[in-house]
């Protein structure tokens, strides 16, 4: 069992969740509450990582994170470090490839909140910010939890993009899914099995938590 790879995987998944919580909330809230030209294109771009082959997405990310590119170059000049084949680059890539997994459930949740509830909150004297905190956020909670669990599980299990962006540097970019692939190549089936079961268990537990929580929440809020 490669504990270091597990630690990297968990760290990457948690950091991606922490980053995508505010980013996802912001994007999904804006998309659910505003109508603008190009909204369809905007949603398509956010959903793109869901349908693109991971290697294609990985290739484009690798090119844009390279030190000769605008983003990669700017990062090098700011920090002196390369984004490609680094944990930070991997983290940035994870935010992008998990974006649809965070935005879609949150967006659906915000869209399901009846506009009258918001208007009622305003008529009850609540500011827009308080309405968001006291009414919309609690009502969208099941979607937010689903978004975080999907982001966590997806980041934990991603293989193609991780390999393209991070390579396979132990202690830096070598995640559990890469370690499983290495073990299989080296005919270390017992180790591969142990790590695969670990990933399976984490995925099962997190998804079960979501279903249980969402059922309770739906029961509470049915009207």
């Amino acid at each position: 069992m490669d504990w270091q790879a597990l630690e990297i995987s968990l760290k990457l998944a948690l950091l991606t969740c922490a980053s995508l919580l505010p980013i996802g909330l912001f994007i999904s809230y804006i998309l659910s509450r505003t109508q603008f030209i190009g909204r369809g294109l905007c949603e398509a771009i956010i959903t793109l990582p869901l349908v693109l082959p991971p290697t294609v997405l990985g290739f484009f990310l690798l090119v844009s994170l390279d030190q000769d590119s605008f983003i990669g170059g700017a990062f090098v000049s700011l920090t002196g470090e390369n984004l490609a084949f680094s944990f930070t680059g991997l983290w940035l890539a994870s935010i992008i490839y998990s974006l649809p997994f965070a935005v879609q459930p949150m967006l659906r949740s915000f869209e399901q909140i009846a506009p009258e509830l918001r208007e009622m909150a305003w008529c009850s004297g609540l500011s827009k910010w308080k309405t968001f905190l006291k009414i919309e956020l609690p009502l969208a909670w099941p979607g937010i939890i689903t978004a975080m669990v999907l982001t966590f599980s997806h980041t934990l299990g991603e293989f193609g993009v991780v390999l393209m962006i991070g390579g396979n540097i132990a202690g830096e970019t070598r995640t559990l899914s890469i370690a499983i692939y290495d073990s299989v190549l080296a005919f270390e089936h017992e180790q591969a099995q142990m790590m695969s079961l670990t990933l399976l268990a984490i995925a099962l537990v997190t998804i079960s938590i979501v279903y249980t929580f969402n059922r309770r929440q739906r029961h509470l809020m049915r009207l």
Binding site: A114, E119, M120, A121, W122, S124, P138, M221
Partner: protein, 356 residues
Amino acid sequence: MLEVSLFDERQPALNVEFNCESGELLALVGPSGAGKSTVLRCIAGLHKPERGHIRINQSAWFNSDDKINRIPQQRRVGFVFQNYALFPHLTVAENIKLAQSDTKDDKLTTSLLSKVHLTGLEKRYPHQLSGGQQQRVAIARALARNPDVLLLDEPFSAVDKVTRRKLYLELNSLRRDLAMPIVLVTHDLDEAAMLADTMVVIHHGKTLQQGTPAKLLHQPNTVAVAKLVDVRNLFKGKVVENGNDAQLHWDNKQLTLIGTLGYHQQTVNWTISPSKVILHQRVRPSRGEQENPVSGQIVELMTLRGITTVLLAVNDVKDVIIQMDVSEHVSVRNSLKTGDNITVSLLAESIHLMAM
């Protein structure tokens, strides 16, 4: 007092003007899509019309000339939405507390709940309540903000008929303690007539007439209003005035009118309320013989809740059916049945004329 004057040429178009005194219940009536709910949304600040003003006790909430447009949070409005819009994740008490300016005041929550007969249900969630209970929570929440105006948007449409009748009585008794103007939106004329002090008829976003329910239902200004308030006896006739007397020529019949109204030689629409058509008793003679007597044959009889509606095919007037409402016991005592020939009086003071 609430003063409303709204104009909008965009969709939904508005041309609405009315006033509502403190403590008065004003019903906005009209068919679906007439713009009634839009008017309430304008008062609450949820919809901005092109021009006009909304003033409450001389203070402007909206004035297009002075570019005043207060946001909903700055207008003290108690709003009961059609589907109540209760916050599903909050208990009854929390729903009410959220609208209180001082959220720590438990006494106010308790007193509001007792006012709407919901004591003991504080900890329930909206989905655990019946339709009638949900409506009461919505009213308590609307009152929690100590509003300057109470807006009720079809508040009875989501409950069954039995509950509705109970809630009518409750609202009627509750409103006696309320000092603010109350605006009720409804498409149910009976509901409006029963609860309101004043009715405003609105159609295609335009106010057509404001008046007491009796005035509006029995003496509409125009045929359009008459049709909207479902006037059942609506006919055409020609007025002939002679000195201080006036007569209405209705096909081959002449009906005496009460004084002159300046309609000489004009064809007019006229109406008489079914409850003001007086039946001549068959068992004993009536002085009604002198008061615009009209004979005819009963073509239909319907009894509902103690009121019998009689449809009478009038003799001497072609293809005309006049409707008359009498108490069920009157119908029984006179042994009214389909096919009978009867005589009724169309009292001069009950005939209402409308220009074509």
